[in-house]
Symmetry: C2
Subunit: 166 residues, 2 copies
């Protein structure tokens, strides 16, 4: 181990094999990560795209369509299809913007919040189990590496997502 070089900035020796292991870990873990919500969604008319929309509307209530577009990194048309079905089914409410009436502020309805809870309960359960099994030091490292993997703009978005809505 290279424990002596704490920062790991210069002398960290990384073989292709080590990196490949990391790549495959991402692949398999992401599959597991999405498996539980996918299971809940299948049978409903919804899919992973609906889950993502619901997640971020819950996360930042009142965010605009353009906000959500940027976060999800998809086209307006693609998001619209998803959003429309959620609005039609009464899971999401789109209120006309208070200051700028062109904007639509998105909120979950009670029904939407209910589905959100079911989905995120499942996903959190897995995450919690993994965190518990791995321990706090590992969790810190997990978050650090994931963050380091993001593009700067994405990382900024990820970090600033706390202020959120309206």
């Amino acid at each position: 181990m290279v424990e002596s070089n704490q920062g790991g900035e210069s002398l960290l020796f990384l073989t292709d094999e080590q990196l490949r292991k990391g790549i495959e870990a991402m692949f398999f873990a992401y599959r597991a990560f999405t498996a539980d919500p996918d299971r809940i969604l299948e049978g409903m008319d919804y899919g992973r795209a609906h889950h993502r929309a619901i997640h971020f509307i819950h996360r930042a209530p009142g965010l605009t369509v353009t906000n959500l577009l940027t976060i999800l990194g998809v086209t307006k048309q693609s998001l619209n299809r998803v959003l429309r079905s959620l609005i039609d089914d009464g899971l999401v409410e789109a209120r006309v913007g208070r200051s700028d009436k062109r904007e639509r502020n998105l909120f979950l309805t009670a029904k939407g919040a209910e589905l959100e809870r079911a989905l995120s309960d499942a996903q959190r359960a897995r995450m919690r189990a993994a965190y518990r099994a791995a321990g706090p030091v590992a969790v810190q490292g997990f978050r650090t590496v994931l963050e380091a993997m993001m593009d700067p703009e994405m990382r900024r978005q990820y970090q600033s997502l706390r202020e959120g809505g309206v």
Copy 2:
């Protein structure tokens, strides 16, 4: 810090907020993780599915179609479409099994290996940069948490993927 409780088995206190941050980190990081290969693939007739097939054939040369099916977790028909185009284009060779002639052992051709290298170079570069920035302790934690997130069967697969082919 909860350094005192090394294993983190029982006393680890995890708020929904912490877990949500982890969930979002996975979402954003995975996008970044696939962005580079996706960029290379766009323009060619290939997509992420081709990349995955190429990756695991490179990883375990000589693996059978059924092996690959299990690893990727898709249907035979779905994989076949991808595999056929790779074979037709001369990136993958499917040799009739030596002992069991029903089986096809899959190998990359020189041309296939070349694309594999381009794709994994890009992906490894990002992974390497993230690892370097995060440091060895974080990397260890990253791998530990990802592994803990997998289902037992998947984890077994992930770990035993070293023996691989033929």
